[in-house]
């Protein structure tokens, strides 16, 4: 592969992350508004973030090997101009939208992503509550088109890092709304608060990374309403143990798949169906949660999140 390297922007951003968290803590404690912190929740989030970096170092060779193989076979090379990097950033954000959507709609991918939603808080530490098991979702395949189109693998990873850094600052309640033009195009704290909501109205909405326009294009956009966002999981986890946070859904898949008396199709569905799917219909998916909410609150029918 031709030598090309970019800075590891996520590692370089670590001091900025810490400084921003300290500023948010100061803001909340002095203004008595703009969010909440809880020590064990914050520490768990930060340990998940550190563990995610370690997982990247240990398992990064898998994705890099895959991307290198693709780069070796593609006849295309778009070069390294600023415009190519900018185009790569936009297309990678489209890639992120679909990875993220799969992350909420395919249990195998959700098992990796669930930890990011497992905090009942929404502050800058929540942004760092990242997965340790992303490699095992095989979602790296969604980056294949970019590399086959001629974007260098190092560039693809570089813009992916920028994407993650952008998403850091939107995990806050300290910012209510950005200017209207910005809210229309970009992902913002307001849009992403909706994404972290466990309210029936807010489930499976706002998957965007940087540009909220993808949600508007693909029909998953829900604007923040007067209804206060309740953060966390539909069934909140009962542990701060980072190992449990990282692996509990994988363990759940294993238990479900190895139940006795299931058909092979049912075992497969426990892996790839939306979270909450069960062979006997005893659990709730986001669709049934929304339907039950509407049965209790018929006045909400047709309002954002229930259309």
């Amino acid at each position: 592969m031709a030598e090309l390297s970019y800075p590891d922007v996520t590692q370089l951003a670590v001091p900025v992350f810490i400084a921003a968290i300290l500023i948010e803590v100061w803001w909340i404690s002095s203004k008595k508004r703009g969010g909440r912190y809880e020590t064990r929740d914050a520490v768990t989030s930060l340990i998940m973030g550190a563990g995610s970096v370690v997982a990247g170092i240990l398992l990064g060779f898998v994705a890099w090997g895959f991307f290198s193989a693709l780069w070796a076979v593609t006849p295309l090379d778009l070069g390294t101009s600023v415009w190519v990097i900018a185009l790569c950033f936009v297309l990678d954000d489209l890639r992120y939208y679909w990875v993220h959507r799969f992350g909420h709609r395919v249990r195998w991918v959700w098992a990796s992503h669930v930890n990011h939603h497992s905090s009942q808080h929404y502050n800058l530490t929540t942004a760092l509550r990242q997965t340790w098991t992303g490699t095992f979702t095989f979602m790296m395949v969604l980056r294949a088109p970019l590399i086959l189109l001629g974007f260098h693998p190092a560039m693809v990873l570089f813009v992916g890092g920028l994407n993650l850094i952008y998403q850091f600052w939107i995990h806050t309640e300290a910012i209510t709304k950005m200017p209207r033009w910005f809210e229309a195009v970009m992902n913002t704290p307001s849009h992403h608060r909706v994404h972290h909501g466990r309210n029936a109205r807010y489930l499976d909405a706002n998957y965007a990374g940087v540009f909220i326009v993808w949600d508007k294009m693909f029909g998953t956009f829900v604007p923040e309403q007067d209804e206060k966002v309740d953060y966390g999981l539909v069934r909140n986890i009962g542990t701060f143990n980072p190992l449990r946070v990282a692996f509990h859904e994988w363990q759940g898949i294993w238990r479900d798949v190895t139940q006795q008396g299931l058909t092979w199709r049912e075992r497969l569905m426990y892996c790839v169906a939306p979270p909450g799917w069960s062979h006997d219909g005893s659990r709730d998916t986001s669709e049934t949660i929304k339907a039950k909410h509407l049965a209790r609150n018929p006045q909400d029918k047709g309002t954002p999140g229930f259309s």
Partner: protein, 134 residues
């Protein structure tokens, strides 16, 4: 950034944020001071399964909830709460209360702080021996 600098930064960052939030009083666990609070915390997790009788621990550290599907438990998770039905749960007495094992990877183990006279009656309900606290 050299790896050793990154490690130092991350470790001191986590420790510093933990210390600051603790000193600000943001590590005090939630307590259920009223039955209504516990009931609301249950309804937040199980909106379609109403809580019947509710029994708070004397210290407000958890509440047993009777439902149409059997007993459930609601307990503080830091400043917030979590809740589970107790189907398949096993309770073991300890010096401070009960160790609870749930067949749920997302909430596998809980330590309930109970007064000595609460331990036996709670264990009977959790293990399915009693339908409710006597």
């Amino acid at each position: 950034m050299p790896l050793h600098w990154l490690v130092i930064l991350v470790v001191t960052g986590i420790a510093g944020i933990a210390l600051i939030t603790h000193r600000l009083g943001w590590s005090a666990p939630r307590r259920f001071t009223t039955e209504a609070e516990a009931r609301a915390a249950w309804a937040r997790e199980f909106p379609d399964l109403p809580a019947g009788t509710v029994a708070l621990t004397r210290q407000g550290a958890a509440a047993l909830v009777m439902t149409a599907q059997g007993p459930g438990l609601v307990w503080p998770m830091g400043a917030d709460s979590a809740a589970r039905l107790l189907t398949g749960a096993k309770a073991r007495p300890t010096t401070k209360g009960l160790d609870l094992h749930l067949p749920d990877p997302s909430a596998p183990h809980l330590r309930l702080v109970l007064d000595p006279d609460e331990v036996k009656s709670w264990a009977r309900v959790i293990d399915g021996g009693d339908t409710w606290l006597s």
